[in-house]
């Protein structure tokens, strides 16, 4: 299982990758909203989610998930961490 810190690091790297370097991983803060602050679109967000799933070796369980509450880097990291169990 990955720690939250490791997951956050991976998410920042993925954001840099999908943004083709526009957003540098080293500048990303956990409170930043992926769509609003980092200016990724929904397709980029889905890419980050899918590649996180593959990296963690999990299938996200969508039951009861309120996606409106998973918007920042930190919130996404916590969500993915919880999905490991």
């Amino acid at each position: 299982m990955k720690t939250r810190s490791e997951i956050e690091g991976k998410l920042k790297a993925l954001v840099e990758d999908v943004s083709l370097g526009r957003v540098q991983a080293s500048t990303i803060q956990e409170h930043q909203h992926i769509l609003r602050d980092l200016e990724l679109d929904s397709l980029d967000y889905a890419t980050v989610m899918l590649q996180s799933e593959q990296w963690l070796g999990i299938n996200i369980c969508e039951d009861g998930v309120d996606w409106s509450k998973i918007g920042t880097v930190g919130e996404l990291a916590r969500f993915l961490e919880s999905q490991q169990t």
Partner: protein, 372 residues
């Protein structure tokens, strides 16, 4: 008329039972083809009612099951072929065609020729080829199996002049044989059907067989042959799908005589281009992506030999594009190459490299129900 009330057909019912059991018992391809050929020849000569069940039918079909499953059909002087649709988009359903009408609508060129059979005999495409051969007074060459190597060997050995195949099978033949070997087949007529023939498929076929007439056919089990195009271009000219018989819904589904076909089309530059079956077209957050668009882009990348694109369920966008491929190129390099060729929404978010991509029993690229 309900089948179990057709007492005059008791003798023929036994005949059908034997055929159904034989098909389900995994009989050899050639034996099945010869059986269908014999049935069709008899049907064209007299009143024989046929019921054909797919190869995947249960082996232990009993007479009572057949009577239950067969559709109510009015017995008429015309022979009737009852086919089951492939069932890839739901439970197989029976569809009937009157042989007399089908043969009358068939347009055949010069008589004669040797046709290679590349479709299973109990599918509409296979029956259509056999009926075409009958009308054209031609010969049918039945390969040992539908394996691409067997098809090429049979075509070369018998010097086949006519072939009807799916574009996916054509791509498999190119992987199985060299251009030099394929060019040895003295083809005069190539008909692509079952799937959309892309421009690259038409161009490649013309390069291999420079003197052949190349056409692509739009047909379905439900409606039979709908139209054939031989101008060397992908898509169907707009006027071929116009008139009172055809209509398109707002999202591009073709309707024929008021019935939906499940096929989505886009009109571009005066031609209808096939996007895919409704369940194959990928809806990425409201934007429609044709799997053919993704596949054609991937095939242009060196190091990719086979590819299929399909919808993958996604909680954020509804669906995203998934893609399986075969070849020497790594996933990261392929993603990089696709970024140059595809609009963003069409980029596969799920990418898998496989050792082989199998075709469906109908010789098509299967895109529905792909497990990721």
């Amino acid at each position: 008329m309900i089948l179990n009330k057709i007492t005059p057909y008791n003798g023929r019912l036994e005949h059908r039972c034997r055929y159904a059991v034989r098909a389900g018992a995994g009989g050899e391809f050639q034996r099945e083809c010869r059986a269908m050929w014999d049935y069709l020849r008899q049907a064209c000569q007299g009143c024989v009612s046929l019921t054909i069940f797919p190869f995947e039918a249960k082996v232990d079909w009993k007479l009572a099951d057949l009577m239950q499953a067969a559709p109510a059909e009015r017995v008429s002087a015309d022979a009737t072929v009852v086919l089951h649709t492939s069932g890839t988009t739901g439970a197989p359903k029976p569809v009937s065609h009157l042989l007399g009408h089908v043969i009358e609508r068939k347009r055949v060129g010069a008589p004669g020729g040797k046709w290679l059979l590349t479709f299973a005999p109990f599918r509409w495409a296979g029956v259509s080829v056999l009926l075409h051969v009958l009308k054209a007074d031609a010969q049918v060459v039945i390969p040992h199996s539908l394996n691409p190597l067997d098809l090429v060997a049979s075509a070369v050995e018998n010097q086949v002049t006519h072939v009807s195949m799916t574009p996916s099978l054509f791509r498999k033949l190119q992987l199985a044989s060299s251009p030099a070997e394929l060019s040895q087949i003295p083809l005069q007529q190539i008909s692509f059907g079952g799937e959309a023939a892309t421009q690259s498929v038409l161009d490649m076929a013309q390069r291999l067989w420079q003197h052949a007439r190349i056409s692509h056919v739009y047909a379905s089990t439900e409606f039979g042959d709908i139209c054939s195009v031989s101008d060397g271009k992908a898509g169907i000219p707009e006027d071929r799908l116009s008139g009172t018989r055809y209509a398109f819904t707002s999202d591009g589904e073709l309707q024929i005589e008021g019935k939906g076909t499940g096929d989505l089309w886009a009109l571009r530059n005066g031609r209808h281009h096939f996007l895919g079956r409704r369940e194959e077209v990928i809806n990425v957050g409201g934007a429609k992506v044709s799997p053919l668009e993704v596949e054609e882009a991937a095939r242009l990348v060196q190091g990719v030999s086979e590819v299929r694109a399909y919808p993958v369920a996604n909680p954020l966008l509804g669906q995203v594009v998934g893609m399986d491929y075969c070849g020497s190129l790594g996933e990261a390099d392929l993603r990089c190459a696709l970024r140059q060729r595809l609009r963003k929404v069409a980029m596969p978010l799920v990418l898998r490299k496989l050792s082989e991509l199998e075709l469906t029993p109908a010789g098509k690229t299967g895109r529905v129900g792909v497990r990721v």
